[in-house]
Amino acid sequence: MTEIRGFYTLWLREVKRYLRDRVRIVSSFVQPLLWLVIFGTGIGFSLQNLKVSFQQYIFPGIIGQTLLFTSMFMGISVIWDREFGFLKEILVAPISGISIFLGKMFGDSTDAVIQGVLIFFLGLLLGIRLTAVMFLEMLPIMLLTTFGLVSLGLTIASFIENLESFGAIQSFVNLPLFFLSGALFPVNGVYAVSVPNWLRIVSNFNPLTYSVDALRTIVLGGAWRPVYPFYFDLLVICGFDICMIIIGTISFNRRK
């Protein structure tokens, strides 16, 4: 019971902190908006052979990007907690390291999914064809995607000593994962006609590839041929989640 309350209170903390940061919520619309409106429209004119609009095509990718960036940011923000001393309060609490990790992770995941949902509605406003059924199908995929990514962020954060490395994560982790996921252009599958082999191979090792593929399968439906079968995407995402949660729990709870 103590464990569950501990888990709940840590989850609540993350969500409250997130919802109180209005500036960040508003500013987080800017990037997806730029990608969808400017990049989407511009590139759309030069790529005419898709059955759907280019905006429609990259929309699942932009959801994936939002999940990736938010999850990593939330996960890595534990460095702030450590820097400002708050982490100590949690780490000395008499609840298990697993509950601490899961509480924090679920909280951050919740925030990232809220962010994803907001982008979903932004898509509706921009005239992308979306339905309520799609929304309900995307929700569990979004949640599963964030579990692994937040855990990755928390793992990285537990090995980083200072705040200065924060920016490096953007260059070394976020952008490569984003560009190699097929979010903006096909990197694998039947549409990736003239994509070099190395790109195909590397993209296979990117967990986000499978999330974007699954989200795209939902949003584009029959108008598109998925890279992998839907069940396979799901399997890889779940596998990644489990691995990262185990690695994250261990690295997060190292005691000196």
């Binding site: 903390r13 982490l87 100590k88 309060e89 000196k256």
Partner: protein, 369 residues
Amino acid sequence: MGNTSWWRLVSLFHYSVASTEKFNLRKIFTSLLYCEVDFEMTDAIETIDLTKQFNGLTAVDKLNIKVEQGEVFGLLGPNGAGKTTTISMLCTILRPTSGTAKVNGYDVVKNANQVRKSIGIVFQDPSIDDRLTGRENLRMHADLYGVPPSEQNAKIDQVLKLVELEARANDIMRTYSGGMRRRLEIARGLIHYPKVLFLDEPTIGLDPQTREHIWSYIQELKHTHEITMVLTTHYMEEADKLSDRVGIIDYGKIIALDTPSKLKEALQGDVVIIKTGEPEKLSAVIAKDLNIQGARVSEGSLELTVPRGKVLLPKIVDVATRHGIAVDAVSVREPSLEDVFIHFTGREIRVEGGSELHGLAAIRRRAIK
């Protein structure tokens, strides 16, 4: 039985008077009876050769201390003496390199979780969530420490009242001053009914007025709660004012341990300060004519620790006059813990870092090393 039961009697008496309860004989009798049965009452804290090394550097060196239940134990020493490292090991944040310690009868290595449940900690560096309100911070703590939800509201109100923060309880922490944050942290440390409360430099970086304020809360706590407190500080005054016993720690070792008054008595004397333009010369003269060694010379003054300073003072002035040394001013005072520290270590307590840091530098300090 022994000392512990007497302590209990005294503390209970104190408790019933302080909490304006009626002096309750039956309660005291039962308490005595309880002690009769409970022969093996354990110390609140016992360390056994507790040692911590960082990359070959010994921060805490085979520490052996016992803290009785209900006492306020002060750990006094300069920055870097090993105070926080000691506390961190007792709070199970750091794992001892060798040796161990028992807190409330639980081993800090083997029963870390039991230890954690039974202690409260006020860290040296701020550790509250600045985006939550005071009440939310307290509730989170209560949840983490398994305080039943039905008791939480009452307990939170109680501790808020103790530190006089009821009016600000629903404000976001960011709007709190440094002293208010500290008070909230002390309140937080008490929510889960801890048997031992650790206070690591509770007033570091606070202005003198706020410091006095915090002291009065700690003193009130001593009288109203049955709780053992371990306090670290590098402020002599603080250790003197709050502690029942003080352990002086330097380079990871306890070099003296007793009540503040006994420590001062150990110096066997008063501190005599003579202001003069020729302190070296006066020192030599005093050593020769009055046979008093160990005068401490500093810029424009001379300091001696001697028995019966008031009687000796005229003699010193007399000797000085005979040798043509002009004495500008004289004073005699009772020894402070500062003098005790100098006596045992041969140097002044190093004052550095900590309180002088502001802004981002202060924030940077807060990281767990």
